[in-house]
Symmetry: C4
Subunit: 226 residues, 4 copies
Amino acid sequence: MTATPTRTERGTHRAQRERVAALHAELTGNGLVTWTAGNVSERVPGEDLFVIKGSGVRYDGLTWEGITVCDLDGTAVDGVKKPSSDTDAHAYVYRHMPEVGGQVHTHSPYATAWAARAEPIPCVLTAMADEFGGPIPVGPFALIGDDSIGRGIVGTLRGSRSPAVLMQNHGVFTIGPSAEAAVKAAVMTEDVARTVHLSRQLGEPLPIAQADVDSLYARYQNVYGQ
Amino acid sequence: MTATPTRTERGTHRAQRERVAALHAELTGNGLVTWTAGNVSERVPGEDLFVIKGSGVRYDGLTWEGITVCDLDGTAVDGVKKPSSDTDAHAYVYRHMPEVGGQVHTHSPYATAWAARAEPIPCVLTAMADEFGGPIPVGPFALIGDDSIGRGIVGTLRGSRSPAVLMQNHGVFTIGPSAEAAVKAAVMTEDVARTVHLSRQLGEPLPIAQADVDSLYARYQNVYGQ
Amino acid sequence: MTATPTRTERGTHRAQRERVAALHAELTGNGLVTWTAGNVSERVPGEDLFVIKGSGVRYDGLTWEGITVCDLDGTAVDGVKKPSSDTDAHAYVYRHMPEVGGQVHTHSPYATAWAARAEPIPCVLTAMADEFGGPIPVGPFALIGDDSIGRGIVGTLRGSRSPAVLMQNHGVFTIGPSAEAAVKAAVMTEDVARTVHLSRQLGEPLPIAQADVDSLYARYQNVYGQ
Amino acid sequence: MTATPTRTERGTHRAQRERVAALHAELTGNGLVTWTAGNVSERVPGEDLFVIKGSGVRYDGLTWEGITVCDLDGTAVDGVKKPSSDTDAHAYVYRHMPEVGGQVHTHSPYATAWAARAEPIPCVLTAMADEFGGPIPVGPFALIGDDSIGRGIVGTLRGSRSPAVLMQNHGVFTIGPSAEAAVKAAVMTEDVARTVHLSRQLGEPLPIAQADVDSLYARYQNVYGQ
């Protein structure tokens, strides 16, 4: 991981890197990230590669050059920035979940507050039933530096309806068929994390019956054609 | 509902659609909506039609083309976007409350936090007495897909002074003589939902005597001439 | 109060009205106001007049024409807008506190949350000791429409170090030698209302000894030369 | 302290003052400061001087002329503004911690809420372990006007991994090898103060084992090469 990029003169995958760079504006615009933390990645269609935000790159003025191309081991193969320190986790997920086309990582405050208690967010909003199909689950505490975080993400999300996992004491990882879908999941995660937090502050939100959760989820996924 | 629009070449009701599109900026500017959720609609004066935000349309760059014209059954009759998935609820309200000229739906966080507990917001602020004339009431849990939400809105708001209802586990619906009035009600709903939430966090806000609520409401409605 | 303006063709006091109009941007920029609520006023030097925001005027695009000139009974004497519905309260304060040159009224959320409980904000921050010289006091519940609000403000602030009062179930009124000073007081009121609120949510903030409050207040007022 | 600047015609250290002026935008952009409170300072390399924000200077439109050059006793030696009233504290830190190249002071709300309770922020987030290497400590209550604040900062941070201290009933002071590093520390302090606050509101965040904190801190500091 984090090997020095080998091609720096002429960027490949420029259109995709521009699009992924632009998607990062949703993270700042929705208050999901602080300073340089957080990142968006996306699989390169038809190649064993993905693109991801560079390490320590500021959001302000982020362009395609702030996005680095990596192989599925997380080794940089094109770019002027070292890839994000979360690249190993993204790479692990791309290797083990072929249906995943995009990923997002944030420390968004309300969701991370749940993560610090290792408490899943209960499904008490119709919007949660639509988007997540149930509670947002918690993944294990894992140190950075090997496959622990990636394994935690995959182990929690595989077989779950939720595109988001709260990694204990850490933050949010979301997946989707594209980077944009993963960004939407990250935005909605913080949105429902906040609303359920607020609701719980003054009492106990009412549960939604499992049959109603199932019905809402089925309808929403069908309408949007996943 | 959500039938494919039949006229897409030349938009009717363009001035109204432009105005309603522009009103959506109040939803984002006041932090009431996330991603594509939420919508504003308005009855077309003198016709059995209303205009409403398209389904899945982003707020950024929303123009008149993001607004679809529907008949009072919720069937799209002009536009390039499928109407909002909340169109059935809006249509039901327009059919059953002829005095309603505009509607807004949001999942604004503080108000939805009350909705998730199915708890009305008590009238403990003079601004609430002015605008809502009492507590903001809660409507039933209702699934999307038929008239349930619309019936819940109408059943709760008919005969109430409040232009806003908190639909259980869901969010806010507001009504008004125009789209702008409904937008104002949605903005004020979140504002008072937040202040009363904050007040309740550290104790119990003092009630306002019913006679004072009545006096404030009468004066305010008279001044603004509803 | 709220008599129709008598001169609408050519605005007097235009420079002051422009300055006061521009000061309203601090209310929106600091999140103190919602929709059209809230207002800034300023005494006209050397005349028995003051200028104040018009009633129901939006903040966006507010110009000098949104500011109306009133006499000290609150009667509009120049302007195209009816003066704010809070004009009576401002007028009462100008009549009874000759040292007051500017006033601000808001329903800023954290401060109004304290007001809804009729609970003074305790002086537990050095910044509060600097600016307010002690707790921020609570004024009585008062209905709009006569001198009740004005009397409540004057009765609470006369003889207090605090330039801000929390009117029960209502909101914040601040005074100062100029409109800008009153705006600063309104901004700082919400700032400390929020920080003390947050601190109290997880325990009890430590008091500051009265002698230290006195010392901080004396130093700060001296430095800034009030 | 706060002697009148002696050179006002031609500014020295202009490039550094421009850079430090621009860094203040991070304080406003991240919601760390209100009105004129808060400041950034930076040591002048190779000289017994530092630059710091002027007293009472607004953030909006802050240019290099709003930044004053001081000697290490806190006496202004170049500039048109009196240096910040916090200059004594900055000067004390520069005199006693030669490794410090930049400092920031704020009353950021969540961090100051912890400070008002004199409660350290526990290290329950991997991002805290990375940046702070443990809890964010609390310094003593200290009055402005002599070396008390400076001594409190130095006494708390010397020998601590944390670049941030919460001064009791007051606010945040951060240090770093440069002004930008201290700004980053101030931004991250508020970020983790908020997330841990939110987490504690609904239960008890899980601790991170000391060995894991040590491992995360060592790795992060090594990667970024402090």
